[in-house]
């Protein structure tokens, strides 16, 4: 698998910590492999929206990758609940269901971005980098690279 320039936190140079939320164990494993190739660390995993809310509060990740269609509580509702309690939360939706109303609803509830499955590693990396750089979490690996 292609290795990307590692994204590290500006504050302590540690790997970026991710919470991965998807009802498919397979999808979580695939995302975990991608995160590893981005130089990141899995802080937690959840298989539905309810668990995601609890897991977010427990691990306080730097960024969340969140599926939409899940049992018990869907991703968009989980985004709303997490952002209500943690306005600083950075959540990227990763779903195969990417119609405009859904994307708009997710963004209105506080998601930062959307990536459609099947996930293209380069696209996901760029979006994560953009979201983290935008908040000053990472040092801007791409900018350093360009210099």
């Amino acid at each position: 698998m292609k290795q990307f320039e590692p994204l590290t936190r500006k504050s302590d140079s540690q790997p970026v910590r991710y919470l991965v939320v998807d009802d498919s164990v397979f999808a979580r494993k695939s995302l975990a492999r991608l995160i590893e190739s981005f130089g990141g660390q899995i802080a937690g995993e959840a298989g539905d929206g309810v668990s995601a809310i609890a897991e977010y509060a427990r691990v306080k990740p730097d960024i969340v990758l969140m599926d939409i269609t899940m049992p018990q509580m869907e991703g968009i509702e989980a985004v709303e609940r997490i952002v209500q309690e943690h306005p600083e939360a950075r959540i990227v939706m990763v779903s195969s269901v990417g119609y405009q109303d859904n994307i708009l609803a997710a963004l209105q509830k506080g998601a930062r971005h959307f990536v459609q499955k099947p996930v293209k590693p380069d696209a996901l990396y760029e979006i994560i980098r953009y979201v983290l750089n935008d908040d000053g979490v990472t040092a801007g690996a791409g900018e350093e690279h360009a210099r």
Binding site: F26, S30, S96, V97, Q116
Partner: protein
Amino acid sequence: MRMDLIQPFIGSLDAVLSEMMRAPATIADLAMEEAGYRRKGTAAVVLFRGQIEGRIILDMDPAAATYIASLLADSEVDPSDPIVPEAVCELANMVIGNAVTQLNDRGFQFKVLPPSLLKEEQVEKAGEDSEATILCFETRQGSVHLNIAMRYLARRSHERAPVAVG
């Protein structure tokens, strides 16, 4: 069954299979099935609720399912590995999710439930009350079947609307 509802699933399965298997997939057969559903290999079912109701079954030959699981896992997978059905569910999620995206963007409003593995006791029930369109795609690793049974309900409710008489 309306072809404009089926077309996005054909395009989506073709696109996802071609991308994942890194080789083109060809449509080998398209048929209607009124009798009960007969499973061919490892199958995942996705249910719809809303203006469109019904279900879609993604059914893969064991060899094709194992190949997809190996690709998704990025390592060689044994056909008996429990990750194989999980991979079929994930593939169904991608194929159907992409098609549903197109349909919703065209104005059809409906929700998709998470994919689940089609269990033995569900197999007969899956085809008992609906005519299905079955698409068979051939890949180098085996056949992939898409069994689509959907109804567009919005028109029916419109047709049932009261009509002024007299």
